[in-house]
């Protein structure tokens, strides 16, 4: 080994390897591993401080993956479908953390649907990732609620139930950042992750992440081949840090728009579909409905609305985390007790 070679470190003084976790125990080729790798890459590129991040997950293959990235961040592998509650609580206790929540389509779309939607209503600061493969992996291949209607699988048989569109559910619940991507499109996943991490409320990313064991037949809309061939990006995305100028390239103006993110960074959208505006909630819903009807695999930023206050703002929390407040902010003095009791004499 060449000892004179130095490994590149970022502004936080960390190497990319230091953003890694324990080795993955998921299947070789699992889409979830690719997503974990993009999280590591993004955290490195953004020079995130690991202690400012908290990782959360529910139960399932996807929910194991927080062990495989950001090993220097605290994490909480919760109950099946209950990550939203645990994540909400953690962010109430310490709203200065940025949360990365990893869930699956079963964890979110079935057992956790209620918690998912109510967490979005509260708008805590979390990047909520669904690693969506349409099947239950650990229990060996049953359909999940996002499985495509009409799909035939070896173990699960024929699915005659309509698929739940999690992006549609997220918009309906008031989520201000809704995107869909494909685990095989690493660049888009990274740009969306960066933008999502810049959002002060809940940012929802529905990432189609093929299950190589149970749902990767070329004809399945959640397979690698299908995603590679059929994905239809709404925009080309480029996340731009706060300090950096936006350079307009030739031919940009017509199809380019820029959205301001909460932390001062921006997301550059080079529109592929020129007349789709993700900041128009009705348009977002309609685009999803049309995509479902036409069986289009649209990806990119589907809805963006930064106007709703985050939980911490709405709850009027102090600057310091509730968990870090000193005793004298939490326990009123004896006179205060006496004052209350006076009314009960």
């Amino acid at each position: 080994m060449d000892r004179t070679r130095t490994v590149a470190s970022n502004a936080a003084g960390l190497t990319k390897a230091e953003y890694g976790g324990t080795p993955s125990t998921l299947c070789v080729g699992c889409g979830h591993n690719s997503i974990a790798n993009q999280i590591i890459q993004v955290a490195f590129e953004l020079s995130l401080k690991p202690h400012e991040i908290v990782k959360l997950s529910g139960i399932g293959c996807s929910s194991k993956s927080p062990a495989y990235f950001l090993g220097m961040s605290h994490g909480f592998n919760a109950l099946h479908g209950r990550m939203p509650a645990v994540g909400s609580g953690a962010l109430m206790g310490n709203h200065t953390l940025r949360a990365i929540g990893v869930s699956g389509d079963g964890d979110t779309g079935s057992i956790g649907m209620g918690q998912f939607k109510h967490m979005l209503r509260r708008n805590v600061r979390m990047v909520y990732l669904v690693e969506n493969n349409g099947v239950y992996g650990l229990t060996k291949g049953q359909f999940s609620a996002t499985a495509d209607e009409g799909l035939d699988l070896k173990y699960a048989g024929h699915n005659d139930l309509p698929a739940i569109d999690l992006c549609l559910e997220a918009i309906a619940a008031g989520c201000g950042f809704v995107a869909r991507s494909f685990a095989g499109d690493a660049k888009q996943v990274r740009e969306l992750l960066k933008a999502a991490l810049s959002h002060r409320g809940t940012a929802f990313l529905d990432i189609i992440s093929p299950c190589v064991a149970f749902n990767n037949d070329d004809l399945s809309p959640k397979s690698y081949a299908y995603g590679r061939d059929r994905k239809s990006p709404l925009q080309e995305l480029g996340w731009i840090p706060k300090a950096e100028e936006i350079v307009l390239e030739q031919g940009d103006p017509g199809g380019l728009s820029v959205v301001e993110l909460h932390d001062g960074s921006r997301l550059k959208l080079r529109r592929v579909e020129a007349d789709f505006d993700p900041t128009d909630r009705n348009a977002s819903v309609q685009r999803l409905m049309v995509a479902a009807q036409k069986q289009e695999f649209i990806t990119g930023l589907i809805h963006y609305d930064p106007s709703r206050p985050s939980f911490a703002e709405a709850a009027r929390l102090p600057e310091a985390p509730l968990a870090a407040l000193p005793d004298d902010r939490l326990r009123p003095p004896p006179e205060a007790l006496e004052g209350v009791l006076q009314r009960y004499r």
């Binding site: 220097m72 592998n77 310490n94 509730l322 009123p332």
Partner: protein, 616 residues
């Protein structure tokens, strides 16, 4: 108390004999319709007695309904301070639907103040009956529209003030307290109360023996509900995160909590050192509690039986992943939806082992508003100290009814935050989440946000080794679960000790917890007058401290008295003190109503007699 008349009062009595007067010894029940504002009238009466210095307690026996169903308010006035439920001897019959049954339930010689506009089919000439012309009084005072129903209940306040000898100024002050000094509301009600009082003075001949006289037995005491007291204690315990889902009878806990927090912990600019969040269900509520506990916040939720059932899986996670949090369970009657507005001690065994697998929890058992306050702050300390969920089992009777209590004692020790390592401590000692460095089973934790990279760990409900890394190894499982047992033994020393009262020479001991104490204490004194004595141990917490074993060992026979069908505490004691099991007997009963002293006396007597016979 039977006494000679102290003045020439109009009183009933057989002709030729001196009339009997019963002072400050009254069991009154007010039967009204739910949702008609009778709570104001009843609270005013209760507070009037209290401010006259007479020991008093009120129990609202209410339906699961917003408006229209029957409700009964029991008020017990007792110069000796006994406040257990007592079968009423005096009735206010203002509910057409129940008037017959209510009249039938009175004992011979009982007193009935009846709404004269109602037409009961039950006629009893062994009662002393007063009819109040309610409609006429309302007409005379010009009560109209919606307020009319509310005002109707004020008529019995005025009549009782006369019959029982409560000064109107006292009633007015009680109303002023009730309405937070909004004089307009006080005046509106006082018009009717005065008119009714005047009518009673002019028209009613006092024929019953009951009346009240000022005492000084409530000096320095307060009147509060257990839910208010628990909420206030939690505020002084530094609670910061309180997610919850509405459920009777715990809702008023959170209502009170939010009020106290707003008053005491919100800055003028609106900034709050807390957050109270109504969640989508109880699963979410306890999930948020554990999330907040993991992040280092002091978190609680309040619920009742059905909510507790939903919390089961998270409770197991909290135990196994070792996360602090406090769950108030204000018990009502189960199983299932059960009797949502009746009291019970039926969740004890369930809460103690809530969760699948080998799960054990700390359970605190308050019996009074003082203990609700104390356990309010202490539970948060205990949760942080022991890094585990703490269940506080109150009940509907304690939580929702108004009780007298001593002024609360300010927490006598600084907040206990438990074994939390900061950045430097991790650097100095190293860190493994479940490494038992102190040998007491309680390990050190770090909080998210700790900048030391070595402080990070992955909390999980799956099998883990001492470093919180996933493990399916049998040795890791055993090491961890045995340490958890060790930790539970440490906890025994941390939970509140039992209140033990040993009667010299007594061979029988009674073990109980929570609000049954009032009936038991009264029964104990009644039996003592008959020369029969027993010792008492009032359990304040699970797991059991050694004081319970000592108590059982010191008595030939122990009777466990509890308000459930299946003798849950007796079962726990028999299982945990197997060598002493043969001497543990049980009185377990549940019908939704709080115990009375005569009931306890009757149920205990066979045990006391049997042992007396054995000893003889």
């Amino acid at each position: 108390m039977m006494t000679r008349p102290s003045r020439t009062a109009s009183a009933a009595g057989e002709s030729g004999k001196e009339p009997i007067i019963v002072v400050n010894d009254l069991a009154l029940v007010v039967a009204t319709v739910n949702g008609t504002g009778s709570q104001t009238a009843n609270t005013a009466l209760l507070r009037s007695f209290f401010s006259m210095g007479i020991p008093v307690h009120g129990k609202n026996i209410f339906p699961s309904n917003i408006q229209g169903l029957p409700t009964w308010f029991h008020i017990r006035v007792d110069k000796d301070g006994y406040i257990a439920r007592r079968d009423p001897t005096m009735l206010v019959a203002y509910n057409a639907q129940t008037i017959d049954a209510d009249l039938r339930a009175l004992p011979k010689g009982g007193v009935a103040v009846v709404n004269g506009d109602l037409a009961p089919s039950v006629q009893r000439d062994d009662l002393i009956t007063y009819e109040v012309p309610v409609k006429e009084l309302l007409r005379a005072t010009d009560q109209k529209g919606k307020l009319r129903d509310y005002a109707a209940n004020m008529t019995y306040v005025g009549v009782l003030a006369h019959l029982l000898d409560v000064p109107l100024a006292v009633v007015e002050e009680a109303l002023a307290v009730h309405f937070g000094r909004r004089q307009k509301l006080v005046d509106l009600n006082m018009v009717v109360i005065r008119a009714s009082h005047e009518w009673a003075v002019a028209e009613l001949e006092k024929r019953d023996p009951y009346r009240v006289e000022p005492m000084d037995a409530t000096d320095g005491l307060i009147l509060m509900t257990g839910n208010e007291a628990g909420a206030l204690g939690s505020v002084f315990g530094g609670v910061t995160v309180a997610p919850w889902y509405p459920i009777t009878p715990s809702t008023s806990f959170i209502d009170a909590l939010r009020e106290y927090l707003r008053e005491l912990r919100q800055k003028e600019d609106g900034e709050r050192s807390y957050t109270v969040v109504q969640s989508e269900d109880e699963l979410s509520a306890i999930g948020m509690v554990l999330g907040a506990g993991f992040a280092g916040a002091r978190a609680l939720t309040a619920t009742s039986g059905p909510g507790l059932s939903l919390m089961t899986e998270f409770a197991g996670l909290g135990y196994f992943a070792e996360i602090p949090g406090v769950i108030w369970d204000v018990q009502r009657v189960g199983p299932s939806t059960g009797l949502p507005t009746r009291t019970s001690q039926g969740d004890l065994a369930f809460a103690y082992t809530l969760g699948h697998g080998d799960t054990k929890h700390i359970v605190l058992l308050p019996s009074s508003i003082e203990e609700c306050f104390e356990f309010g702050w202490r539970s948060l300390d205990l949760a942080d100290q022991a890094q585990t969920p703490v269940f506080v089992l109150s009940d509907l009777d304690l939580g929702m009814n108004t009780w007298m209590g001593r002024s609360f004692t300010y927490p006598d020790a600084p907040m206990e935050r438990g074994k939390v390592m900061n950045e430097e401590e991790v650097a100095e000692h190293g860190f493994g989440r479940y490494v038992d460095r102190d040998g007491d089973g309680i390990t050190y934790r770090t909080l998210p946000g700790n900048p030391n990279p070595a402080s990070a760990y992955f909390t999980r409900g799956t099998g883990h080794n001492a470093n919180a890394v996933y493990s399916e190894r049998a040795e890791d499982w055993l090491e961890n679960t045995e340490r958890l047992s060790r930790k539970f033994d440490t906890i025994r020393e941390l939970v509140p000790a039992s209140e033990v009262d040993v009667a010299p020479g007594a061979t029988v001991g009674v073990i109980a917890f929570g609000t049954t104490r009032y009936a038991i204490e009264e029964a104990r004194d009644r039996l003592a007058k008959r020369g029969i004595h027993f010792s008492t141990l009032r359990l304040k917490a699970l797991p059991l401290r050694p004081d319970v074993r000592s108590f059982v060992e010191a008595h030939d026979r122990v009777v466990v008295v509890e308000m459930n069908r299946d003798a849950q505490l007796a079962g726990i004691l028999r299982a945990e003190l197997p060598d002493l099991a043969p001497r543990i007997d049980s009185v377990a009963y549940l019908d939704g109503m709080p115990f009375t002293a005569p009931f306890v006396e009757e149920r205990l007597t066979p045990f006391l007699m049997r042992v007396a016979a054995e000893v003889a």
